[in-house]
Symmetry: C2
Amino acid sequence: MSLLVIGSVAFDAIETPFGKTDKIIGGAATYIALSSSYLEDDINLVAVVGGDFPKEDIKLLESHGIDTEGLQIKEDEKSFFWSGKYHNDMNSRDTLITELNVLENFDPVIPSSYQNSDYVMLGNLSPDVQRKVIERMESKPKLIAMDTMNFWMDISKESLDKTIAMVDVLIINDEEARQLSGEYALVKAAKKIMAMGPQFLIIKKGEHGALLFDSESVYFCPALPLEEVFDPTGAGDTFAGGFIGYLASTDDISFDNMKRAVIYGSAMASFCVEKFGTERLVNLDQSEINSRIQQFIDLSQVQISI
Amino acid sequence: MSLLVIGSVAFDAIETPFGKTDKIIGGAATYIALSSSYLEDDINLVAVVGGDFPKEDIKLLESHGIDTEGLQIKEDEKSFFWSGKYHNDMNSRDTLITELNVLENFDPVIPSSYQNSDYVMLGNLSPDVQRKVIERMESKPKLIAMDTMNFWMDISKESLDKTIAMVDVLIINDEEARQLSGEYALVKAAKKIMAMGPQFLIIKKGEHGALLFDSESVYFCPALPLEEVFDPTGAGDTFAGGFIGYLASTDDISFDNMKRAVIYGSAMASFCVEKFGTERLVNLDQSEINSRIQQFIDLSQVQISI
């Protein structure tokens, strides 16, 4: 089925205890689209870049089967740029530079060939922009999933609430879930957040795995225990891409299939952190992905009867 | 099969954000023995208490089928006493009082009827005492599991290393694994610790679940996401009791069966934290345990094929 992905396509400069990069390709939609491209063929990208964005990076996305008709290029402007430095524990980071540039006035245009996309993944962006995408779709998608971050809870809570009320799946991390709900215990947080609209909620806990909730059930998928996390940038977006890509390719939005989708999201994220930026994500093959999924099965599955 | 449990049988006074207790029955061996008693019938307790320890609490242990022939009663001395206060996040606590009392010179005596116990669980105690138990067994047990804590790493590292080298399964938490190995990443820590002797290692991560390692495999069992943790005291010991109790009752020490044992340990621990001290553990029934195990299956198991 077709999958519409919206989010930033941008430059990042990253520093981790293992080294630092110059400006490299990044952005939520880049990670989401690359990740989902290994699972789903029909991916429609909506984003905006400046004239400074390398054409070969757009070609790279296209070589992964990602349709870039919806990628606006503002020739006279600059692409979104983020620079950050991770602390030694890799769980926290400082933002060094945020230059909104083309994102400042981003008005998402949905090409007619994208209008009837079956699945929509709203990568982290202003909730106003996310909502415009939903409103500009000709037909109601089968499933809309959404990522966001604490920044929007701080400055655009009302708009964020409106957008959250319109989506089927919200994907956030544990701290964001606590902030959004005002509850510390994630089980309580999940109930409050699902009461805001989404039928499904995924709470990502980084190295501690991810929880999937609906009103009746909860599923937990561990993160792969790794010897080394090289660069966590984009891991959450890569998770979202694997999750939504699996749902779109299997076209099954049952809770049971969402459990499998969470495993695929976790597996894709486990690749992402192995190298800087998108480096590991651009060169995967199916057998690597299958054996990573098998690792998750071995890690978490048990023969047990009561 | 028979299971020998050694550890403290003691008084605790606990304060959590939900309330505080007077002196109540506690101690590692108490939690381990109670927890395992729901899974295994033949439990042999080795411990020491003072004359102040209530006879009805010893009867309570016996009513759970726990053999107390190995429970020494030093009539003229006082029982071990620990008092602690949990912080609001329940993940950390301050020790307010530690009175070793009878534990100061504890010399474990293994009654002849215990000498050929098939399984041994060494609850947290001085590694000297733990090692004496191993040395005083007439026949080599099928499996020896051991708990310890950072305190012994600080003050008795050499003795601790000797004891660790003699056991089959070490059960510690994440911070202890990091301290013991000098490695932050748990996968690296696990390799180093297994090189010290144990064929199997369990690393408990509290609300973030538990990892089981052998030299080739790793299994992860989540903790049950709870709305409220009332009192975490004894949860680690209760985990150990469920784990070893399941192994002893099934008499199967394959990695696959250890995975199931970790689920049983996690399920028993999830009961423990629901009330103060041993309150929840003394009144469980089999159907409650079975439905809790089913919750763990629902939480973590997926139908998936590649």
